[in-house]
């Protein structure tokens, strides 16, 4: 141990540290300065940026001892400075951050740049911030804010500023990696080296003998059932493998030790004996189908007979990582007889159920807290680390911290589904489509997980934004020995949009027709949509083609998409929101949506304020009552449900889920024709049955939310929870007015709501304050259940209730010798229904496009033989400020046709769905040859130019 003394935000502090302790660890772990995050441990992401003697450095690659005797200023120490305060106002007004995990690091870099020189140009700001990575935003609003602050202009007015952003930028918001019980043990997972093998033996004695090691646990130590993951469609995913390993993402043991070094050493000493088995990595040759969906319309034989040309090709999209800036993390501890987990999850109720089963505890003895998430993008829909963490806490009875290293996260954790699809498209000479035949495969990895829902989307959206009179689609999920696939932004739509837009582009170019015109001619008409307007707008905005720099090739591409949001897919999707006023007179909005950064937790209070007619924003709370009790009784009555009610609720749930799960697993094993026939016969009675059960359930449990399903998330958040808020607001208003009418003894018709309570419109001094009206609460619930299990005519699951429609266009330049790609111009035009929060919408679209660009051109996972070959964030290339597309033009079409409040539509995923095909089509234009797979590296691009 060594003594280190630093001046930390003006305070002299002294601590004993190990030599290998980094400055980030000293600040964050020892001094509890949670404004110093740690995203990568490689000096790449900048989440840990601090000022060392007034110069920004990455504190994760600096030893604490190197800083000894020097001044260290963190974001937390900067926020009160006038420069920083003004900049924060600019950042919040533009909603420049989303999940906010990277924000304090950006603040440090930006304040340093502002202090050196002003005004700053956008290019100067981009260079100054190029050591900070943001996965959510695409950087545009961040850079805009810094440029504006540098010129001294006042921040734009923000009527209802996102309150969460203040805390996030100042580094006050607590994420799972920031929760730190005292005297904590360090957990680590022992991963399988093999992607397919028999596990013959596992000697833990050498690992247990490492000084400081407290527990080494294997499958034999699991008190309950050894199952984890999304247990909706299959219970095939062991928490810890005991006989068979099926991927390098499989865990075979977990360890806990008093120091990170000891935990590491224990992992190193734990060597399993294995007998390798044949592994399946190419999902084309995989025979093990875990889900299958079929969609048929008309007769493709007739369609192809009517075609002048039949265009064929196979398109592929590789797996990718979410690369959330916060690594997968959790802390767990014991409070009395309860295990408490503070973890990154979108589905705390699923986590709780899974953990309870693993530990063989009643669910009431497991509590799951959801601090803010440093990004999710779908990663946290499926339970992941929590079972390992809970097992360690349970076995050691001590607090445990389990945080994946960045290279572990990239090499071992869940990924986006890799996709391969063979298309045949029949087209007439004038560009009219006559038929589409698609065979689609998705790589599930070793376990079923939530692949059936993704495969359902692949089938449902295979035709993209177009009408085909004759259509035949078969989408299948296959089991392989690659890493487990999970939800990722776009959730199937992204992969299939790349496929259909590629074959459509090929058809247009083969026939030498204008790709925009071919799209217009074939756009789907049902439902009514703004696709044609979006293409016109994009073409108009792109205008004349840019001139090519000498030696560069230029290309233009557009991509049009129709992607779901709001989808029951045979099940029930529901959201409950509670609007209340507490004894202090504060208004509150509660829902079961945890904060992954999308802006929904700000959008809901804004909607509530607008619908109630108050100026002050209600506070948002992630409702523990909703999470703890899916039956909704705790929420509505304030008391936990009795055993009988709980039993009835669970039984009713199972009555729906059992036939659904059965049908889904059956579907995977049937031939398409047989499946279609069977479902035609089975589906109608199933519809009736499901509708019957759901009706009973809704009668008995009006605020119930199915406990086996993920809660509302993704692009449907605003539509579902927003509508629920509106309905809660109506009831809340009615209840408030009726209570005030009694209190003031005036007719309800004379009463109106104001900021402070309810007043008499004819005698405004007569009023009842919110405090006097408290306690008062109202519930709003929105539930989607559409058509039961399957569409009888096609054998497909029921589709979504609404779609996002968008067209993107870009001009790019590519260097034929180096494969460098420069995006010269990018236009995104989307029917957003209604832009309720324009900055939020812009942030989602710009951030989505940046993610799509990154996934298409920069992020190469290099998965070979079931192993990921890239290490950490310095090799997994999420775009930086210097790579992200710049000057994006975002055009919102407001048709008011969405099913959200005021006709708003979902927006969150469309950006990253439309960007990959748009880029691919522009590359096609530039190179004269089509890219049939993404991501594509510059090296591969040069193969096209030579």
């Amino acid at each position: 141990m060594n003594n280190v003394r630093i001046a930390w935000n003006g305070h002299e502090v002294e601590r004993e540290v190990r030599t290998e302790t980094t400055l980030q660890q000293l600040l964050h772990d020892e001094l509890d300065d949670i404004s110093v995050k740690a995203g990568c441990g490689e000096g790449v992401c900048g989440s840990c940026t601090v000022l060392l003697d007034n110069e920004p450095v990455a504190s994760c690659i600096r030893l604490a001892l190197q800083a000894a005797g020097r001044a260290v200023t963190t974001a937390a120490g900067l926020v009160e400075l006038p420069d920083a305060a003004a900049l924060i106002e600019h950042l919040v007004a533009r909603e420049a951050f989303q999940c906010g995990y990277c924000a304090p690091g950006f603040l440090v870099s930006a304040v340093h740049a502002l202090n050196k020189r002003r005004p700053l140009s956008a290019d100067e700001v981009r260079i100054a911030l190029s050591g900070n990575i943001c996965r959510c935003t695409g950087y545009q609003q961040i850079v805009d804010a810094v440029v504006a602050a540098s010129s001294g202009e006042p921040p734009p007015p923000a009527i209802h500023a996102r309150q969460d952003l203040f805390a996030k930028i100042r580094g006050e918001a607590r994420y799972a990696t920031d929760v730190r019980p005292a005297d904590v043990l360090f957990g680590r997972i022992v991963w399988s080296d093999q992607s397919s093998a028999i596990l013959c033996g596992l000697d833990t004695s050498a690992a247990s003998a490492v000084p400081g090691v407290v527990a080494v646990l294997t499958a034999a130590d699991i008190p309950g059932v050894n199952i984890t993951g999304m247990q909706l469609f299959g219970s095939d995913h062991p928490l810890l493998c005991d006989e068979r390993v099926r991927s390098t993402g499989d865990a075979i043991a977990v360890v806990a030790a008093t120091s990170a070094a000891a935990a590491r050493e224990a992992v190193r000493r734990l060597r399993p004996t294995t007998a390798p088995l044949a592994a399946v990595h190419d999902f084309d040759s995989a025979g093990d189908i875990c889900s299958q969906f079929v969609k048929v319309r008309g007769d493709i034989a007739i369609g192809f007979a009517a075609a002048d040309e039949v265009i064929e090709d196979t398109y592929e999209m590789t797996a990718g990582d979410h690369a959330c800036m916060e690594r997968e993390a959790g802390f767990g501890w014991i409070e009395g007889d309860t295990i408490v987990l503070s973890v990154t999850t979108l589905t705390p109720h699923l986590v709780r159920g899974a953990v309870a089963r693993v530990l063989d505890l009643p669910e009431s003895r497991v509590r799951v807290e959801t601090p803010r998430m440093g990004g999710s993008f779908g990663k946290y829909l499926m339970p992941g680390l929590e079972g390992y963490l809970a097992l360690l806490v349970y076995a050691t009875r001590r607090p445990v911290r389990l945080v994946l290293d960045r290279d572990e996260s990239i090499a071992r954790s869940t990924k986006r589904h890799a996709f391969r699809a063979r298309y045949r498209l029949g087209v007439k000479r004038d560009g009219t489509f006559t038929a589409l035949d698609a065979e689609i495969l998705a790589d599930a990895g070793p376990y079923v997980g939530l692949t059936p829902t993704v495969v359902a989307v692949l089938a449902d959206e295979a035709a993209g934004a177009y009408d085909f009179p004759h259509l035949s689609v078969r989408a299948r999920g296959v089991l392989t020995n690659n890493l487990l696939a999970t939800a990722m932004r776009g959730f199937g739509s992204q992969q299939v949009a790349f496929g259909i837009e590629s074959i459509v582009e090929k058809a247009a170019r083969t026939l030498e027709l204008d790709p925009a015109e071919v799209r217009r001619r074939n756009f789907c008409r049902n439902p009514e949509n703004a696709l044609a307007e979006s293409v016109d707008e994009v073409v108009r905005r792109l205008g004349a083609r840019p001139a090519a720099a000498p030696g560069w090739l230029t290309g233009r591409g557009i991509g049009s998409i129709k992607a779901k949001y709001g989808y029951p897919y045979g099940l029930v999707d529901s959201t409950v929101v509670r609007l209340s006023v507490d004894d202090s007179g504060e208004l509150m909005v509660e829902a079961d949506i945890a904060d992954s950064g999308t802006g929904i937790i700000a959008a809901l209070p804004r909607l509530a304020a607008v619908h109630l007619g108050v100026q002050h924003l209600p506070r948002y709370l992630t409702s523990s009552a909703l999470l703890d009790d899916p039956s909704g009784i705790l929420l509505t009555r304030g008391i936990p449900p009795c055993t009988t009610s709980r039993w009835i609720f669970r039984t009713l749930e199972k009555m729906v889920i059992v036939p659904t799960a059965l049908a889904l697993s059956l579907a995977a094993h049937l031939r398409p024709r047989m499946l279609s026939f069977l479902l035609r016969v089975v589906a109608r009675p199933t519809d009736v049955y499901n509708a019957f059960v759901a009706t009973i359930k809704e009668r008995l449990f009006p605020a119930g939310v199915d406990s086996y399903l993920p809660r509302t998330s993704a692009s449907r958040g605003l539509a579902m929870a927003g509508r629920a808020v509106c309905s809660a607001a109506e009831r809340f208003r009615a209840a408030a007015i009726s209570r005030a009418a009694v209190a003031l003894d005036v007719p309800e018709s004379r009463l109106a709501i104001t900021n402070d309570g309810v007043y008499d419109t004819s005698a405004p001094h007569r009023r009842v304050s919110w405090k006097q009206l408290a306690p008062l609460a109202a519930i709003g619930r929105v539930a989607l259940r559409q058509g039961g299990l399957f569409e009888p005519a096609t054998g497909n699951q029921s589709g979504p209730v609404d779609h996002m429609f968008a067209t993107h266009g870009c001009d790019l330049a590519i260097h034929p010798e180096t494969g460098e790609v420069r995006i010269l111009r990018y236009v995104a035009c989307q029917d957003v229904g209604r832009a309720l929060d324009p900055e939020t919408v812009r942030g989602q679209i710009v951030g989505g496009v940046a993610m799509g660009v990154s996934q298409t051109l920069y992020e190469h996972l290099g998965q070979a033989g079931g192993k990921v070959n890239v290490v950490g964030l310095h090799e997994y290339h999420v775009v930086t400020t210097l790579d992200a597309p710049w000057g994006l033009e975002v055009i919102n079409l407001e048709t008011g046709s969405g099913f959200g409040p005021s006709g708003a539509k979902g927006v969150g995923e469309a950006g990253c769905v439309a960007a990959p095909p748009t880029l691919a089509n522009a590359l096609y234009d530039a190179l004269g040859r089509q890219m049939t797979h993404i991501s594509v590296s510059p090296e591969e691009l040069t193969e096209f130019t030579h």
Binding site: R18, V44, I61, R62, L65
Partner: protein
């Protein structure tokens, strides 16, 4: 690990002589590696040594080993003659890394990003405070002798020199170098000097390409010939992707761009 922060060169050399590991900016010692270093390993932090000067003196640019890449990239002392070095320093990692990484550490590291630039600028490496001075090429090929310490880098001054550097990576910031190429010309010896990293295991001069440019005017045709020669002449020794063909293409393209830059 054990840690020491000596303030004299003599103490430092004594510590290094006993197997100590020199610690400059520390950017190459990632936390996950640090955790794996043996408990007895001594880290010798060089920050207290007087190795922070960047000066022009006696016909040389002399850069102390602890001068950061950020300072080199931004220093007004780095005239157009040494632009290749400033560009190479600016191309490393990202601003946070450049503010930590030192020239001494980068030079001593076998894959140093500055090597190509230093090769064309005739740099020499001063070790142990002047006890020995070696051409950069010796350091690139043979590394720093065990127990020795790089204390400064010297570049001869020549106001007629122009130099430039280009790096290719998968992304513009925090991009690992795939190929880097440097070029310089002087009035005294008109033929450009060229060096490249990313094809052979170490940065190397490009004698074939240089020979094609020697003696005659640097015409577009000569540039193209030199670029092709540059792409072909180095032995291929890289184990990790991208592949040989691509790396050679990048060297050729780098030569094209640099010759255009140093000519203008």
């Amino acid at each position: 690990m054990r840690y020491t922060r000596p303030s004299t060169l003599a103490e430092t050399l004594a510590d290094l002589g006993q197997g100590g590991m020199a610690l400059g900016g520390g950017t190459l010692l990632l936390p996950r590696d640090a955790a794996d270093v043996g408990a007895e390993q001594l880290l010798v932090d060089l920050q207290a040594l007087p190795l922070h000067d960047l000066i022009v003196d006696g016909g040389f640019l002399s850069i102390g080993a602890m001068v950061t890449l950020a300072r080199i990239a931004a220093s007004p002392l780095i005239s157009p003659a040494w632009k290749a070095l400033a560009q190479a320093a600016h191309a490393v990692g990202n601003p946070n890394v450049r503010r930590a990484a030192t020239i001494g550490g980068n030079v001593a590291w076998p894959g140093g990003d500055l090597h190509a630039a230093l090769l064309v600028l005739d740099a020499s490496v001063v070790c142990d405070g002047g006890a020995c001075e070696l051409p950069i090429r010796n350091i690139i090929e043979g590394g720093v002798r065990g127990g020795a310490l790089v204390t400064s880098i010297r570049l001869p001054q020549d106001d007629t020199r122009h130099s430039a550097y280009v790096k290719f990576a998968w992304r513009a910031a925090s991009g690992k170098t795939i190929v880097a190429v440097a070029a310089s010309t002087t009035a005294k010896n008109g033929a450009p000097r060229l060096a490249a990293a990313g094809v052979a295991a170490r940065a190397m001069r490009l004698p074939d390409a240089e020979a094609l440019l020697a003696g005659g005017p640097v015409t577009p045709e000569a540039v193209e010939d030199a670029a092709r020669a540059a792409g072909a002449e180095l032995p291929f020794e890289m184990a990790k992707p991208p592949g040989e063909k691509y790396r050679r293409r990048l060297v050729a393209e780098g030569v094209r761009r640099l010759l255009a830059a140093v000519r203008s």
